[in-house]
Point group: C2
Chain length 199, copies 2
């Protein structure tokens, strides 16, 4: 990189700190940005700063928001009786994309992970109990991921919520749609067998 | 994307305009940028703007530079008698990385392409003749790429430079190092045969 002017080297260095961007990609991006109109570069830089400054967490569901309440918590057409508990805003985005859910969310902002020292006090567990405690919620869907930590978090929440007057469900796990059985791993197949349902 | 706050949507839209960055990658980058310290985000935005503002073309070789002359043209240890003609600054960067060349460069800033309406007047051909005309250059290496346009540009330059008192050379093309002959395409193999040399 030493033959590039210092300002290009600085941008390349800053971009390689982003996930999935190596030196080659950063170099290609820098060359493209050089060829972009000044106005577009300014707008890109500004949207970076603006996002960082304006985005905060929704005070109700802890999802990303640019106001006190996020667009979903503000939406009067959403079903307030069903709560879907996910780990991260990106998980919420994925479920929204599927169009399979019309209720509201609760974003934990993490998973329980004793190995990394993350306990119930470090994620939004208390806030979840507070929301359920206020009443009006008939079902809580545990939609944490099926990783070891996600499963443990779902089990922990199920244990602690069991006494409350809400229906508890867990998203199904099994063979992915379009999946070929012979390529599916043993743990997934076992789960698909164990949680088989009538048709 | 509709469930993200507007400022995140704007950044994702701006990033998907960059080459090789789709919606998924832009979303992942935006989530990462949100988790970065404010100072780092500000520094990234600033390096974008600074690069765009400070980078111009070297007045001698037309490479990217942040001063009137680029670091290579300023370097007194470089051999001023050999000129390597390339298409783009990135090609120069690739040759520099190889460490195989210690002379100076001339960046054409493009290739001849009648299909796209690019003629000799649209790239830095006249500037190349002016540099050679000033004397002191003993060899001109034509290092345009081996694409159809790159080859045509090299042939055009060779034709026009033939009368001048400089040695004209073309970078070798053939089987890449570490390449397995059976996977090399026919055109490359033909070229490797045609330009074979004594050992």
């Amino acid at each position: 990189m030493r033959h590039y002017p210092a300002s290009i080297k600085r941008l390349i260095a800053a971009m390689t700190r982003l996930p999935g961007i190596g030196e080659k990609t950063a170099e290609r991006l820098a060359m493209h940005i050089l060829s972009m109109p000044q106005k577009e570069v300014a707008s890109l830089a500004e949207s970076l700063l603006e996002m960082k400054q304006s985005v905060r967490l929704c005070s109700l569901c802890h999802s990303l928001s640019d106001a006190d309440l996020c667009p979903i918590c503000r939406d009067p057409s959403r079903d307030t009786g069903v709560l879907c508990v996910v780990e991260q805003p990106a998980d919420m985005a994925a479920i929204e994309k599927s169009g399979a859910f019309t209720g509201r969310y609760h974003i934990l902002q993490g998973v329980l992970s004793p190995m990394c020292g993350v306990g119930p006090g470090d994620i939004r567990v208390q806030e979840l109990f507070d929301r359920i405690g206020k009443g009006g919620i008939g079902e809580v869907i545990l939609a944490t991921s099926t990783s070891v930590e996600g499963e443990a978090t779902a089990a922990y929440l199920a244990e602690r919520l069991r006494g409350l007057p809400v229906k508890l469900t867990r998203i199904a796990s099994g063979v992915p749609m379009g999946g070929d059985l012979k390529y599916v791993d043993a743990v997934t197949l076992k789960r698909a067998m164990d949680t088989r349902h009538g048709v």
